[in-house]
Symmetry: C2
Subunit: 125 residues, 2 copies
Amino acid sequence: MIERETQQRRAIREAFTRAGRPLAPHEILEEANPDAPTLGIATVYRNVKSLVDEGWLKTVELPGQPPRYELADIGHHHHFHCTTCGKVFDIEGCVGKLGALVPRGYELDSHDITLYGRCDKCAAR
Amino acid sequence: MIERETQQRRAIREAFTRAGRPLAPHEILEEANPDAPTLGIATVYRNVKSLVDEGWLKTVELPGQPPRYELADIGHHHHFHCTTCGKVFDIEGCVGKLGALVPRGYELDSHDITLYGRCDKCAAR
DNA sequence: GTCGTTGCAAAGCGTTTGCAGCCTA
DNA sequence: TAGGCTGCAAACGCTTTGCAACGAC
């Protein structure tokens, strides 16, 4: 599908490896700006889509938020959404016994957990 | 703010008490159609907004989904999203020890848990 | 009869698509 | 050089807003 490694595509990849947290399309644009000042939002959307298709990125959906994306090679984890700065951070670990919550007759496949509060930088202020 | 109890507003209220689950705007339109066949989507949005403002409804945000709404007077709970029929159901109970997941320096305020799978009707097929 | 509310249509906003020119291979 | 990729602008789908007509009080 994607066959060429362009400046723009490289800048988008580096934005993710540098950030180390899930990025929304407009955050990608900002993060990649030093490497690719003329990068357009349409190019961000197109490259993100192909990077997800080829398994380099995965989609991170949080309640009430536009989709973000992060490197696909990190394992099962959840997310912390800072309500002050708006950034999203990865959280390690998971809780057990979610199956106990499911009503009789329902079949559980997977789950999402989102934590809300203040990140270390925002809490320190 | 809202001063009049119109046919449309009554139909929207009844849609929620009848459904007993979170409803998205288009689901409200369908559910209220028997009571208010000419109901317009703009009216749904305006009434939902005012019902949230006055505390009769609350917003239910699920990952990757448009906002839904449900009666505000039900307590803390989470949601089950059926990946077959697309409907959302309330789940009672909650897990503990989420605080243990939070990194040092972060402050936890609240959380969302979303379960995915098949509801009883879809699982029975 | 007043004036808040409704329904339509236009405006917004974020995302996707069409197309001519650019640039990687 | 060829053809995939980019950037702009138009198209889209969902939500919000403007406005004239309607209807609750």
